[in-house]
Structure formats: C-alpha cells, structure tokens
Symmetry: C3
Subunit: 329 residues, 3 copies
C-alpha cells in the first residue's frame, strides 16, 4: 500500500493546502499541492472499490461538463466522478452547442455561469480556452484538456498510478515516448513529474520533438533504444491519426518499427519497469498487445481507475470554499 | 427588490391559480396566471443563488426532455431545472431518435407516455407539434419552442427579468426588434407583455414584418430610429443565419447598418432603457458588443439566470396535481 | 390481473432462482428462470403506475449504458429503469466513442470495468459482442441487442405483456411475422416463448426465412394467410429500411400487400387475438394503423410500459450478488 499522509502532515490547514480557485494546469502548482491532490484521491480509490460508492458531499451542486472536443473516456470519468459525489451533473456536447451558431466562447462561459454552475469541467481544442473561461466565471473551472496546453487530471492520475505501483515518484527515471510536440498529456506529465523530483526523459521522432524541450528540465532522445535505458516507467503516448495523415510520420508501420514499444525494446528498461498509456491505444502502432496486456508490466487499466478517483478529489477540493468546508470558506 | 406577492394575494387557492394541464404557449393564459408563474419563480431565483441548490419536490418523478430541434442552452436550462428539483431527468436527442426511422410524432408521444413520464418538455421545428403531443399523453407537456409558434418559457423569463429590473411591466414601452416574422420568441413575448399591459412596439425590416401584426395589439415600425424612441426596454432578436442565406436580408453588414443595435441608436431610447437578447448573440450583427457587455444597460446574463428559475416554477406548478399538492389534486 | 407467484413458490432461494451473472440472451435460461424475471417485473409495473416512482435499491451503484448502435427507445427505457432504482446512470454514445479512434471493443470493456461500473448495458451491431464484453468485466452485463443474435429484454417484455393480457403463455399459438432472418427480436422471442410452452409459428417471405428454422421448435410459413390461422398472438416485426434497399423485398407497397397486417388478414386469427409490435412501426408497411391503434387488439403501448418494468427487474436481480442481498451474496 502506498503511503497517504494525512493533510495535516503538511503543517497547513484548509485553503492553505490548495489555494487555487481553478485547476487549469499543473503549471503553477507547488509540489506539496500536487501531493495533496494525490493524497486526497486515495480515499476515492477506496470508496470506488466498494459495492456501494456514493458520497453526498456535492449534493445540491451543479457540475457542467462542457466538452467542445469529443472524448468519451474523459467525459465518462468526470461524469461518474461527479455523480458518485452526489452532484447534479449535466453534459454540454460540442456538437449541439451554440458555438455552432456563432456564439463566442466567452458568451458560452457567461451563460453557464448565469445558470449558477458550481463547477465547470471544460475540454476544448484550443490552448488557453479553459483559462479564458475561468477568467469569466464565478465558480471553479477544471481543465479536461485544452489544445496542446495541459491535461492536468491526466498527469495527476498518472502520478497517482506511479506512486501506488512504485511507492514513490522522486528519483524514478520516467521515459515519455511518442508525439511529445502535440501532446498536452506529455506536457502536463513533464510538469508534474519534474515537480515531484522524477528524472524525466522524452523520446520522440525529430519531427515530433518540441524545440528547446530541455528548458522543461527533461532530457530529450530521438533514439528510442538509448532513451529507454534503465527507465523505471515507460509512458507511451497515443499516436493521433491526424498526425499520421499530416506528414509528421511516414506510416503507422514505420512508426511502429522505430517508435513502437516492443518486448525487445522494453528489455532495455529497468527489469521491473512500469508501462503506461493514456488510452485509447493503437495496438500494434505505438504499443504491442503482449505488453499492454501483461498485468505485471502494464498499469494501463489502473490509470483508468485512478482517473475517476483523481477527478473526484479535484471536484471535492475545488468546491470546498463554496460548500463552506471548515478551513476553506 | 421586485415585489413578489404571495399566491394567496390573488384570492385564489390551488388549481384555480393555474388551471392548465400543459404549458403549450402564452396564448390562453390570463394575466394573473402569468403573474402567478413569475411570482413562483422568485423563490427559485433565491434558491439558485445559494451554495446548495437542491429541492426534492420532484423526487420520484420522471422528466423527459424530447428535443427534436437542437438547442444547447434551452436543454441545459430545463435539465438543470429538473435536476435541482430532484426529478429523474432523461434527454431524448433528435439526432438519435426513432423519428429518423420513420416513426410518427404521435407514436413517439405515446411511447414516452407509456414509459410513464411525469412531465415532458418538447422542442420541435414544427409549429403545433407540441400541442399534438399534449393531446396524446397523460402528463403535463411543456413547450420549449415549436416552429414559429411559441416559446412560452422564454417570454416568462423575459417578463421576470423586466419586472425585477424595472419593478413593473404595466405601462412600460417595450421595443422588440429584428426578425419578428419567423420568431416564436417575439410571438410569445408580444402575447405576454401586452397581456401584462406593456406598450409593445415591433421593429422589423419590411420583409421580416408579419402581416396584420397590429391585431396583436402592437405598433409596427420599419424604421428603427423611430420605433426605439423612448423605449424602456429594447429587446433584440437573434438573426438566424438561415435568414441571411434566404434572401430576406441583403447581408449581415447591411443588416447591422439598418437594424443592429448601436450606442448611437440606443440614445433615442429612454435614458435607463434595458437591453435584452434571448441569445446566442451574433455580436456585431444585431447587437454591438459594447452594449451587450454593459452591466447597467444589458440584462442578457440575467435573462439566462431567470430562465432556470422560470423553468423550475413551471415544472413545479404543472406537476402539483400529480403530486397531490394540497389545493391542486 | 395476472398471477404473480412469489419467488418462494419455486421452492428455491436466492441465487438458485437466477444463478446467471449476465443476461446476454434468452438462450441458456431455464423456463423457471424466465418466469422468475417476469414475476419480479410485476412489482415494477405497479411502482411505475404510482405518482412517485422511486426505489433506492441501486443507490451508490454505477450503471453504464454503452450503446454502440443507436436506439432511442431502448436507451431511454434502460436509463429510466436505472434512475428509478436510484443508480448513477451514465450513457456512452457510439458516435462519441473511442471506438471511432480505433480502440478495440475489449479495450472499451476493460475501461468501463476499470471505472468500477456495477452493471453495463450494451447494444452493439455485431452478434456476440455482448458476450465478448461480458467475458472481460467483473460486473453483470445486460444485452440490449447485439447484431442478429439476441435482444433478451425485448423477449421478456413481450412475454410479460402476453401473460398479463392472456393470463398464461403455455399453449398459446403465437405467430411471429416479418423479417425473421435478420431479427434478434424474433430469435429471442422464439427462445422465450417455446421455452414457456407456447406453440410458435414464424411467417416470413422465403428470402427472409432462416434456413432450418424448424430446429428452433417452430413451424415456418411463407404464406401469411395460412400461418396466422387461429393465432392467439400476432407479433409483427419491424421492416428495417436497410432490407428494403437490400433487394430482400421488392418494395414497401408490395411487402404490405403480401406481408402487412390488415384487418382482413387479422380475421383469420383467433377472435380475441392480441397484436404486438416492438416499435418503432412503419405504419402502412408491416401494420395498418387501424389495427395498431385499436386498444382491444393492440398491446403495442403496453409493450413499451412492460419494457421499463422488465429492465428494472433485470437490473435489480443481476446486481443482488454485489449488493449482498440475502440469499444472493
């Protein structure tokens, strides 16, 4: 079992533990704030494994999931998280949205706010869209992925998964492999893992490696076999099919040959290396099935489970001020 | 604060206050019945401004939102309203509906009824579709907009907004401007505001002015500058993009020049004139941003807020008979 | 009123009454197990006819409706059923699903499982897809229709409707008419009704009659007038528009002439013959409106009502083990 120190262990109380109104990204969070959210998530992992998994603390609060970009998994995860906490959860799907009628994003934000939302979860194809909305509303805003910017709950669920499987994060060598250039998952993970003192390596084809990535305190590799050497965690990124068509890579087959995770390649990592993937996977492209399905190596299913727990923690923590929780109001 | 007389102030009790089974339109409502719904909505405005906004009175009741025509805002508003009242709310989206399989509208109505819906909210592209369904089911039906016919909750939320901002409706000069011909919002508002003794003017391009509109007890103007003269409330209508393509107007730019609400034009209205818009707005077409965003003039955000409250009032009132509320059963 | 023997009448207790983890089909169910589910559904028919229709027994449980194939009615029915039982119900729509991103069906199943679903309802266009998912998850799986395979809750609701209207099922002559070849509704009904000792006839055009259908203990007829002779129940199938385009039938008009249910044809059935249709109907194609709308002959509306009750029964029974209900855990 991982160690889950009680909040008071930080020597802080209430809103000092997490003074932020919104969760727009990992950027701007202190290490102890990230750890606080991970600690909080542990109780939800426990609850979710019970037969009855209901907690009424968000009862009477309205959670709006405004997904301007489709994502079945992330929407399901946030919807389940909110409902288990007792919130009134409503989904706003992009395909039906007034945005199509020419409404500006800010008008949409103002509208959701006027309906007295208590927390808004946003996914948007444009970087910065979530911050734009956060600036216009009275309630907490949770970023469920915006453009190439951030996907903070993904980084939190990944960190929680690592901490539970490895017992710690500090000092681990984590290799993040794939389309780092376009990936908000990579970006949020780099921010979270370096903040928690992991040694982070990024492995990408030269066309998909962000320029000056060293500034993010990571070591870049364009050769997979070198980069994976001794890694404790191998985090594969999803290859977006748009990239395949976009000329960034020659073909799925060639991508697999050079950048896919195979058993052979994994042998260069640490003997007990953990394999992760944010899903949905392109089996046989960025990852081989025998690795993805190996319960001793793969933490992919556990990542999904941690996702619901982390989102419950974020929804709970961000609404404490409004709910008048002692030390937060 | 607006005056919200208690229901007993009308000298009526229970079902006498609102004897209608359905809310298919403003047409057919007595002035005191409209006022009754506005009075009822006040409590929900108050509740919605609280941190916890739950009321269990519709607990155990099934609300089906059957939207044959997409409308993100209106659907969200009804869904939030029902959930805050504790109903089991389910949405039926047109895009997935059996209607696409050739089922008749009446068969859909009979199906929803057989599932023992307790209240059905309907939006449909055809005028009269809501009445057709209301005639076939055992439960209350709420019109969320049907064709060019009516959109009664929009008129109620507009009336509530005006009453709260101006303290009264009777005697106010209200100018409704834009595509009056195709607008169910205009139609329901004309019916509600004239019923409540406002002086209503309609301003529209000749191609978008309904013939014989004087019969609705309004004064038509085809010149914006004349029509807006001394108005206490300026209610702009949304310019449907279908109209722009349909040859009714020459171009968005020309529409703005002749029919858009600018600061200059607004100066002809009363000094404290209230500006309204049902949303979503085409900024720079029918309304200028500096007006829309001026909190002293614009009530646009408040309209959205009143929308949830008014819908909660309608859902509550229409289900009282079924719930056996004293005086209603 | 139909006879609804208490469960103890079977001389069995708890999980012996229904030892199955999943409901993937009628195939594999014993007659007393089918009867048990019908008996259980009776209480939900009663509850659904009350003003307040809430039962909290699935409170704290997460029900995921994963519909890979659209079906407004069936989805609504399962969603209402789950919400009335107090479950946290979330819908996963095919159109938004990760399946579109190339994810395998098994990965989707594993994902829903990792989110700690307590019951999964699946509709899929491929026969066997539901079983594939059932094999991969820890929670009960309910088949809401898979390919040409089975649609067990449809058969259960049909059986319940017949039992309530006729007082029994054994010994009744039931004629199932239409596109038997492609119909999972027909298949599940044949299995259920023959299991319950009805005499089942299938009537279909030669191109839409499954080969060797006699092995399912039914009598095939390609002539409608002969097949319907003396039938106590006439169950019409929906003509899928895909079939019309597929060359299986010459035209809707000709189909109606040869295979549509008309008053004239119905006269050959028993004088009190019950008419059924799973909906949505193609009026004037497979069934005439005067028959569909005759309350004395048609049970079509009652079928919809029984659908919600049967689904509540299945959701309740399948989750008893997890909920630790006495005799089931």
């Amino acid at each position: 079992m991982p160690n889950a120190p009680s909040s008071s262990a930080h020597g802080l109380t209430g809103a000092q533990l997490f003074p932020h109104r919104h969760l727009t990204g990992i950027s701007g969070l202190q290490p102890h704030e990230i750890t606080f959210l991970l600690d909080e998530a542990e109780q939800w992992v426990d609850l979710n494994r019970k037969a009855s998994k209901h907690d009424g603390r968000l009862s009477g609060l309205t959670q709006i999931n405004a997904f301007f970009e489709n994502s079945t998994r992330t929407l399901l995860s946030f919807e389940i998280a909110g409902k288990r906490l007792g919130a009134d959860v409503v989904n706003m799907h992009a395909a039906q949205s007034s945005v199509k009628k020419g409404e500006t994003l800010i008008d949409t934000a103002v509208t959701l706010n006027a309906m007295r939302a208590d927390v808004i979860v946003i996914r948007h194809q444009s970087s910065g869209a979530v911050q734009l909305i956060a600036d216009k509303v009275d309630c907490p805003v949770l970023n469920a992925g915006d453009g190439r910017h951030e996907h903070p709950t993904q980084a939190l669920l990944d960190a929680l998964t690592i901490r539970r499987r490895k017992g710690r994060i500090a000092g681990l060598r984590v290799a993040i492999c794939g389309d780092v250039l376009h990936s908000r998952v990579a970006r949020s993970n780099i921010l979270a893992l370096t903040s928690l003192a992991a040694e982070v390596r990024v492995i990408a084809p030269p066309t998909l490696m962000p320029p000056a990535i060293e500034r993010m305190h990571v070591t870049p590799f364009t050769d997979f076999d070198t980069g994976i050497e001794g890694a404790d965690v191998v985090m594969m990124l999803r290859l977006q099919s748009e990239r395949m068509a976009g000329g960034f890579i020659p073909s799925p087959r060639e991508y697999h040959a050079l950048w896919g995770l195979t058993s052979e390649r994994l042998e260069r990592a640490a003997p007990d290396a953990l394999v992760m993937h944010p899903g949905p996977m392109n089996r046989g492209v960025e990852i081989d099935s025998n690795i993805a399905d190996d319960p001793n190596r793969s933490a992919i299913t556990e990542q999904v489970e941690m996702g619901v727990a982390v989102r419950m923690a974020c929804l709970d923590v961000l609404t404490r001020r409004k709910r008048g929780v002692e030390g937060w109001a």
